[in-house]
Amino acid sequence: MSMDHLRWRPTVNERDFIERVLQSDLRVDGRNSFDFRTLKITLGREDGMSEVQLGETRVMAYVTAQLVQPYRDRPNEGTLAIFTEFSPMADPAFEAGHPGESAIELGQSPDSCFCNLSIQRCVSMEPNVDCLRFSPLRESRAVDMESLCVVAGKQVWSVRVDLHILDNGGNLIDAANIAALAALSTFRRPECTVGGDDGQQVIVHDPEVRDPIPLTIHHMPIAVTFAYFGEGNIVVLDPTYKEEAVMGGRMTATINSNGDVCAIQKAGGEGVMSGVIMQCLRIASVKAADITSKIKKAVDSYTTEKDLKKVKRLPVSVPQKIHVTDVTMENKGDGELETQTQTAKTPSDVQQISKDPAPMVEASSEEDAQPVTDSSNAEAKSTSNPHGANGESDEAQEIGSPKSLKDAIKPKHKRKKKSGRITSYHCLRISAPLPPPQRAFLQDINK
């Protein structure tokens, strides 16, 4: 009873009104029956962080990874675990640390979409005890687990997604799913190599030394939730908080943009005719394609912005008029490289830059390709800029040349074929620490 009086209950008036207007195909917030609320995806200050706002609902996702021992029956696969935090600031009905029934349902649905191995909180035991849940079915594997293996049987990456519910405005499942997907798409795990005497030691490289690698995401399973009213006749999409309190039943369909149904979840509630379910699945696949494109757009613009930021980190000695040279590298599947360089002074060229990263990013989701400017061809050669602005870039080259060679020497294990790499060194991380031998070499050059 202590927290019970804080739980919001709908009034008789609201219940009657919502059901009555639904009979005439109206919704209380003015939407159509199958409209999503406005979706806003904010990709955070760092990789692997996202905040999603779906109408009034806000969810934040945060992805981390660490090396662990794999499960004995799956020695060459990593793991993906999803934890959900229901903060009392989201809804007075949530108590800190103690998930209720709705929490369990919410915690289960992203898992069923992502992988067939998950760790969850169980409410019947102490709140702090996690229990393992093996799903016997091979459910859709959106994130590739085998690429997370480092040393089979000994060390694998365990990726953990923490979902924080910031505001409960209804339809937490969809919002949480989108947040998790966006965060996983921008997450970068540190690169590691296996070495040492016995070939079993794993060396994890600092992100400043070697670029971290994105996860391999095969497809994006999007959860679309439907609410049923009035004995299953009336269906709406994306229920709000009040509609959820009044609805008779709910169904979540998880579909990807290819039209594959990854999961369907309907826990109790009103019975629904199979024809209605099929109609819902059709609508869901349309919505899933729409949401997938929104997520991809947000992720792409975040990745581009981040890469541009890397490019702009030039030393102070470079005069202001050449304050940035933007380089985009495209890594096509067969390793063929195309480079385009432009200075910030040519606005027409800047247009091109916005188009180029797009194909690159798609390619990166296929295999673990390096992010754009990373093709930091360590062997920077002083080839000249093919695209005009020759004089300027030459100048830039010279002024920046001590840095350029410094980066040239930095060891990169991924060597791309070089064709027309130019003032690429301008875009490299100048601030990275150098191992001593190179510095000595550098000093020689300066003299």
Partner: protein, 239 residues
């Protein structure tokens, strides 16, 4: 001795934050000042304890007004409550405050033990706060001070939604709030505003109710002119 009015505090109608000294009592002698919410006496000074706008109601009542999503019960406020439970003596009513409020079963016009109203759980009630302090559950009444019903009681049909307390005060202010004025020119509806941040709207057509409720929810952060423009937009979309 001429009675001196206390010099009005320089902060009146301005925003204060906790700790601001609002009045200096050493200058005033033989004056009675009434302090409302958000003010506290510290020796010779009156200090603000919550942030908001300092208001003065002549002759001598001061209080700090702020807008929140949750409500702090205070006496003589009219609120909209939801019945949560019934007891032999009281209805337990949720008024968005820290505690549930009690509505005595006899606090209705002509209420006797024989004609206790039957409210089911989820009934919406328009009531007046009779007793409120931080340690006890607040008490409500569905009668005005003279014992008449005066519009208090159960609200039937219609639709209720939540706003902030500041928005409720704006809706109840006189002259009429711009959004209500603009809506009232074209549509006919009835509205009940609770100072605890709840608003009830009723109209013959459901469309009207939806329009009015959305217009009010959206007008919270808009200025008067923008409110009118927004209402114009909404009305045009419908017709």
């Amino acid at each position: 001795m001429e009675s001196r009015r206390p010099p009005p505090s320089p902060f009146v109608e301005n925003y204060v934050v906790p700790g601001d000294v609002v009045l200096d009592l050493s200058e005033m002698t033989n004056q009675t000042i009434k302090l409302g919410a958000g003010l506290r006496q510290e020796c010779d000074t009156i200090q603000a304890t919550s942030s908001g706008k300092l208001r003065l109601s002549k002759p001598n009542k001061y209080w700090v007004e702020s807008s929140q999503k949750r409500y702090t019960p205070s006496v003589e406020d009219t609120v909209l409550g939801i019945v949560v439970d019934t007891k032999p003596d009281n209805f337990l009513v949720d008024i968005k405050g820290p505690n549930l409020a009690f509505l005595p079963v006899l606090a209705f016009e002509g209420g006797t033990r024989r004609n206790i109203p039957k409210f089911e759980i989820g009934t919406l009630i328009y009531a007046r706060v009779v007793k409120a302090n931080s340690i006890m559950n607040p008490e409500l009444s569905c009668m005005d001070a003279t014992g008449k019903a005066a519009e208090f009681g159960q609200l039937k049909d219609g639709y209720m939604f939540d706003t902030s307390t500041g928005m409720s005060r704006m809706l109840l202010s006189s002259p009429t709030c711009p959004v209500l004025e603009a809506l009232g020119k074209k549509l006919s509806f009835e509205i009940a505003v609770g100072l605890n941040g709840r608003v009830w709207v009723n109209a013959p057509a459901p469309n009207t109710v939806i329009l009015v409720s959305n217009a009010i929810i959206r007008s919270e952060s808009l200025s008067g002119i923008k409110q009118r423009a927004m209402v114009e937009n909404l009305l045009q979309k419908l017709t």
